[in-house]
């Protein structure tokens, strides 16, 4: 009895072929083991406890592995019994065991399914149609064209439904004509990512646009510790939170794309000396921006959403020079500042900050709304119209606007190529172009009711003075300082979304 292996029989035995040549101790041991198993009180199957039964030293357990640990085995006296494998399928080491066993072991289900293992795929998948599913998957991987092209027929006007669009295999764009500047810029960004450098200098590269995929990886930038020798004090340790800075000065950028505005942790942005004519409204996403330099561009107005940043973290705001119109030369509908005085104030009085003594008042630090320009109402195509009495303020969007809002939300819109556009009706082409621009800007939102819109219906300019933020450190206005209001343009989604009078 001492020779017996105390634990349950090795499972692998089941998979062994019966025609196995060569004697092995395992098959001969197994039957006698089963005999003793029936006698053992450990295996009372009718009432199996959840935990192991108590073990007493007085118990007569002939097959206790612990006690027989050093007991002699059949192989020879004085040799330790060695075990191999897991506790449930434990097996005494067979001295005659050969590596040839390995081949047979392969028939055992390892639990790992690989695409190349067809026979295993059939047995391991639980459901009935499992193998078919696997084959379908394999086919679709091998032959994506077999799934059918994007259904865009010229004969019908029907737009692709989302379901159809999803079944389209996503093509991988490989741009062979990537410009030299983009390649250099990408190398700089990659270098920064690798070194954990949080200051990205893309200046003087003659960039005309920010290519796709250039700035998006910076979201995952990890800063590396810069300590080279053991510091003498705790102050020598620096924060590993990246202080993300992007410098794009002296390029030929005409627009900034949408990727830049997805970097929510961006702290410093400089686009000095570029050819920007407008800033997109989604600059509001850069809520942790502290320094913004937009000097030496071709900006004639600023997005109204930028004011939200001025109320937040933004402290350094370099604006001049830019060809902003002067408030003295434009038509102003309502003066918001300095109107407390009697009569019609002169423009010099309006543009003068309150005189104060001692501590600067709280409004010396904030942006001040100076005036509101007249409202331009736009028709459904975005052309300015004269407001007539028949067109009352109506919050309900037009049918065109409703359809456009559905259109811009359709997937796959960005992947329509120029050739495919030729198949569309001529009316739809500019609308699709607009929808693509809408996507590139990250959507437009009404500045009054905050709803998404595609076609603005009203536009006006608000004049705000931001002198505390301009040029270097944030400082309060001095007493009686002349205000230099800047034009911020706002858009509304309907003729009812206009400034409150």
């Amino acid at each position: 009895m001492d020779n017996e292996i105390p634990l349950p029989p090795p499972r692998r035995l089941r998979h062994r072929s019966s025609s196995r040549a060569g004697p092995s101790p395992a098959p001969s041991v197994a039957p006698s083991f089963h005999k003793s198993r029936r006698l053992s009180r450990f295996d009372d199957r009718s009432s199996q406890p959840s935990s192991d039964p108590a073990l007493f030293s007085s118990d007569d357990i002939p097959a206790s592995g612990l006690e027989n640990y050093n007991a002699p085995v059949a192989g020879g006296p004085g040799r330790k019994r060695r075990y191999r494998g897991t506790w449930w399928g434990e097996q005494a080491v067979d001295p005659k065991r050969k590596r040839a066993d390995f081949k047979e072991k392969r028939h055992v289900d390892s639990g790992v399914w690989m695409g190349s293992d067809e026979s295993l795929a059939e047995s391991s998948l639980p459901s009935e149609d499992g193998p078919a599913w696997g084959e379908d998957l394999l086919k679709s991987v091998l032959d994506p064209q077999g799934q059918g092209r994007f259904p865009l027929e010229s004969s019908t006007l029907r737009a692709p439904t989302p379901v159809q669009a999803q079944s389209r295999p996503i093509p991988v764009f490989i741009k062979d004509g990537e410009s030299e500047e983009h390649r250099i810029a990408k190398a700089i960004v990659n270098n920064c990512l690798e070194k954990g450098e949080d200051s990205i200098d893309l200046g003087n590269l003659n960039l005309k646009s920010i290519g796709p995929g250039l700035l998006a990886p910076l979201q995952h930038l990890t800063k590396l510790p810069s300590v080279t020798e053991p510091p003498t004090s705790e102050n020598a340790y620096t924060s590993l939170q990246p202080f993300l800075r992007i410098f794009l000065p002296n390029n030929n950028l005409t627009n900034l794309g949408s990727e830049l505005f997805e970097l929510k942790d961006l702290k410093v942005l400089s686009v000095r000396s570029n050819k920007l004519t407008m800033l997109p409204a989604n600059i509001r996403n850069l809520t942790s921006l502290q320094v913004l330099n937009i000097a030496v561009n071709e900006l004639t107005s600023l997005p109204w959403e930028l004011l939200g940043l001025l109320q937040g973290e933004l402290k350094h705001f370099s604006i001049y020079p830019n060809p902003f119109p002067s408030i003295e030369e434009t038509i102003v509908a309502v003066w918001r500042h300095g109107s407390s005085q009697e009569g019609e104030p002169s423009i010099d009085e309006v543009l003068k900050f309150n005189e104060y003594e001692g501590e600067p008042p709280s409004d010396a630090w904030t942006a001040i709304r100076v005036a509101t320009g007249s409202v331009n109402r736009l028709d459904m195509d975005g052309r300015p119209v004269q407001p007539s009495s028949s067109h009352s303020a109506n919050h309900a969007p037009s049918l065109r606007e409703l359809s456009l809002r559905t259109l811009v939300k359709m997937p796959g819109l960005d992947q329509i190529t120029e050739e495919e556009l030729l198949d569309f009706p001529p009316l739809a082409v500019p609308l699709i172009a607009m929808a693509q621009k809408w996507h590139a800007d990250g959507g437009w939102h009404c500045s009054v009711c905050h709803k998404e819109y595609v076609n603005p219906r009203s536009q006006w300019t608000e004049w705000w003075d931001c002198t505390p933020h301009e040029n270097g450190m944030k400082r309060p206005r001095t007493s009686g300082e002349k205000l230099r209001p800047l034009p911020f343009s706002r858009f509304g989604c309907s003729w009812a979304c206009v400034p409150d009078s």
Binding site: L157, R158, A159, P160, T161, P162, M380, N394, H395, A396, P397, S398, L399, R400, L402, S403, L404, R405, T406, L407, K409, M410, P425, L427, A428, L431, C449, A496
Partner: protein, 102 residues
């Protein structure tokens, strides 16, 4: 038929023969239909109160009529919910909106 010009309801007929009877004020959201039904114009549509919209199919015209009523309902409200436009119809509705000037 002359009394139809003062009727509160008009009939819109699609290219495949579907007829939609809709209140005049709702239909006049569309600039094109408003001009068609203008009594001063002496168009046959104005006299009969029946507009044949040859460019619109029944499916599209149904959605257009739904929009007319949606616009009528939400005219004076703020915070208007968007009407549901099925994606497969939106290009056709864009063409219809262009034609109907709405």
């Amino acid at each position: 038929m002359a009394n139809n010009t003062t009727s509160d309801f008009v009939t819109l007929v699609s290219s495949d023969g579907f007829e939609f009877v809709i209140s005049r004020s709702a239909a006049c959201v569309s600039g094109t239909i408003r001009r068609m039904l203008d009594p001063a114009s002496k168009f046959s549509e104005a006299l009969t109160g029946r507009c044949n919209l040859e460019t619109l199919s029944g499916v599209v015209l149904e959605k257009v009529c739904e929009y007319f009523l949606y616009n009528e309902k939400h005219k004076d409200q703020t915070n208007v919910p968007d009407m549901d436009v099925p994606p497969e119809l939106c290009l056709e509705l864009l063409m219809a909106a262009d034609y109907l000037d709405t």
